[in-house]
């Protein structure tokens, strides 16, 4: 019974005791694909049995239709051994590929192994389908030179110029225990238990080489990454990410998300390994929801610049109407100049767009009895220096919404391209 799929599918996807939907998903998983993370599921497949191929030109979990849940974990590498680091990435690649197919993390499984040894899978996903799991890996600045400037892994000559710690933004009250990291794992799934299972097992595989620095659960996706998904709502109750780059926008993905061949020209280091990859900006944005909830609907809409119901800009139309920032009303433009949409709209930033796949979070309550709630901001950009930092600076300085936000965690990672057959993730960096 080795290699038994959690969904009861074997090998290349022959259904065992499952309905048609399950068979469809299984075939897709076995077939693989050129681009990881693009749906390989028949429309009838339920979300539970959906799988996304791990391998491809780009990593899965970026343009993949945003799943409902996320578990992100950042790691500090605790070794100076390049070999150990590479070995970890090999282990992670194998385990992630298995889990994204709905299988156990290890080759044996949670109940099939030596009775006197701990199982090589922790077991909490036993009986659960793949749930659309994707696992996406990234590298933090510390991998290319630690705080003391030490080049632990001989990678200083491969550091992309854009992979610098993000600058301090007004409104940042960063908790170091929720910021930074040498490695990142983003596990997205439609079942939170599946996402947690993935991170937990990868963390277990990392002991001795890397330890968890911070981890964050998210529920309720706040972005849609395909045009077929409706725009979801953040904890302010507003639609979020209307202007998101979507998977169907091939040209926009090339322009705004994937690192291109000439992007690091002028950099002394050779960062060609990142071509086809991206940058992940991760920010833990706390929201003062209690105070927000006491603002009138009129005030809430003025702050956001869109209607709360349909998400249309206050200048009129529907959600996807182009805002008219000059249309006058009584007392100024209908879309106030300091509203979120007026400050953040791509038109105000040379067309800079991001691929966001953020999630809501609530981590219990703080000492005052206020919900520790907010948005786990996750955005993929081609170059944070043009695609994120200026936009964030404008938001910190001028966005009326910033009054209700406090950024408590922040990190930047370079996300390597997808692993091709036989490769481990990030192999191009170590070539």
């Amino acid at each position: 019974m080795r290699e038994l799929s959690r969904r009861g599918l074997i090998g290349a996807g022959v259904g065992v005791g499952l309905g048609a939907a399950g068979v469809g998903a299984g075939v897709a998983a076995g077939a693989g694909g050129l681009v990881a993370g693009v749906a390989r599921t028949e429309p009838r497949a339920s979300s539970g049995t959906r799988t996304y191929p791990f391998r491809g030109a780009h990593q899965a979990g970026i343009v993949t239709p945003a799943q409902d849940r996320v578990h992100v974990a950042a790691f500090d590498v605790t070794t100076f051994s390049r070999e150990d680091l590479v070995a970890l990435l090999r282990r992670w690649t194998e385990a992630a590929e298995r889990m994204t197919r709905g299988r156990p993390a290890g080759p044996v499984g949670p109940t099939e192994g030596d009775y006197d040894a701990p199982p090589d899978d922790t077991g909490e996903a036993l009986g659960l389908p793949a749930s659309g799991l994707t696992v996406t890996f990234g590298f933090g600045p510390g991998l290319f030179g630690d705080e003391s400037g030490r080049d632990r892994f001989g990678l200083a000559g491969r550091r992309p110029a854009a992979l610098e710690e993000l600058p301090h933004f007004p409104g940042d009250v960063l908790d170091p225990r929720r910021s930074g990291g040498d490695l990142v794992v983003q596990a997205c799934a439609d079942d939170p238990q599946v996402a947690v299972h993935a991170v937990r097992n990868l963390a277990r595989l990392a002991f001795g080489t890397a330890g968890v620095r911070w981890s964050q659960l998210g529920f309720g996706r706040t972005s849609s990454t395909t045009t077929s998904q409706t725009t979801p709502r953040n904890l302010f109750g507003f639609k979020d990410g209307t202007m998101n780059v979507k998977a169907e926008e091939g040209a926009a993905l090339v322009e705004h998300v994937w690192v291109g061949a000439g992007d690091d020209a002028g950099n002394e280091a050779d960062a060609g390994w990142l071509v086809g990859g991206s940058y992940l900006v991760a920010r833990r944005i706390s929201m003062t929801v209690e105070v927000w909830d006491r603002q009138s609907l009129a005030e809430q809409e003025r702050v956001v610049g869109r209607t709360k119901g349909s998400g249309a800009p206050l200048s009129g139309g529907t959600e996807f109407s182009v805002p008219d920032f000059t249309l006058p009303g009584r007392g100024g433009p209908l879309v106030p100049v300091d509203s979120h949409v007026a400050v953040m709209h791509p038109d105000r930033h040379g067309g800079a767009r991001m691929l966001r796949r953020g999630y809501n979070f609530v981590d219990g309550a703080d000492a005052l009895g206020h919900l520790d709630a907010g948005l786990l901001f996750l955005a993929y950009v081609r170059d944070p220096r043009s695609g994120f930092i200026p936009v964030q600076q404008a938001m910190s300085a001028r966005d009326a919404l910033a009054e209700y936000l406090k950024v408590t965690g922040s990190a930047l990672f370079a996300v390597p391209p997808g692993a091709r057959a036989g490769e481990f993730v990030g192999q191009s960096l170590f070539a």
Partner: protein, 398 residues
Amino acid sequence: MTRLRTLRSRATTASGLLILGLLAAGCTDKSAGAASGGEREGAGDGRSVAVTATDEGCEVSAVTAPQGALTFHVQNAGSEVTEFYLLDSDGLRILGEVENIGPGLTRTLVLTAGAGDYLTACKPGMRGSGVRAAFEVTGTGQDVAPTADDGALVAEATRNYAAYVQDQSAQLLAGTRDFVRAYRAEDDDAARALYPATRVHWERIETVAESFGDLDPKMDLRQADLKPGQRWTGWHRLEKDLWPPAGYDPLSPAQRTAFSEDLLANTRVLDRRVQDLEFSLDQIANGSRGLLDEVATGKVTGEEEAWSHTDLWDFQANLDGARVGYEGVRPVLAGKDGELTATLDRRFAELQTLLDQHRRSEGFVSYERLEDEEVKQLADAVNALSEPLSGLTAAVVS
């Protein structure tokens, strides 16, 4: 400083009295079928009216409605920005309005109207007298909350509030003079005593002061809120100098002079500006709520006075200002919503009682001396007051 702008400019009607609160009842701006209002509980009693405004027309789904709380769902089906009004039959007095309705959007107007003859009006392009039609509100034999008969009460409330702001500003200016004198004379004990006692006059009118976006950051910016390249001046700059943390490099006498004179000059500008301010009822009510927001985000968390830890002085001052605003509009509220009035009376008193437990001689204990459990109690009491207080504006202007 927190950055709440509770006096954010709000285009108001001429009267300032009858701007209608919008009810967040899930009935605003629905993208489809928005004019039906069918989702809201209580719809279907004839008090829910659909209005379709176009560039030339103003289609109202009913010409009559029973008295009580009426809801108009105004959909702008035209190509221009529009407004919708309910006017008295003389066509002059505004009972309620929604403005700035962009093309394609739907807004909801909720108001209480007694039996009588009225006019509806759509104003495409926000020009002229609009497309008007007769609208009748019929009696039901039940009492309806008074509508627009509160003119005298409103006038008194707005007059009194303007006087209160001017008085606090005058005391702030006088206190700042004394503070600056002591501080420049390097009489730091005196300056430390005057610091919280003077700042209460700022904190009582904080939402008014913050409405001057140029002055506020110069006078009340916290170091944590500094933007890159921004020069740090104002009260908290001097606070840090008077309560220096370890390793702090004190200001020179010349710097003391420069920073304190700058603060005094800005205080004079503020005092000049408040002389001309007029307040509408909704601004007073919003300001009251806004001061409690300040407590919730800055004082109860101990973030406002990072070095002096005199946050409870500010807490009391914000509460003072909120209570004065509330008491000003209370006669209007009492005629409309006795239950809310009673709740707010009680919650203001409960919060004050709790805060009084931390009084010491002339002031309050240091925030650092508060136990976690005491902070939690204060936070809970702030929430208990803030939540009903957030309904004040809609209640007094509807």
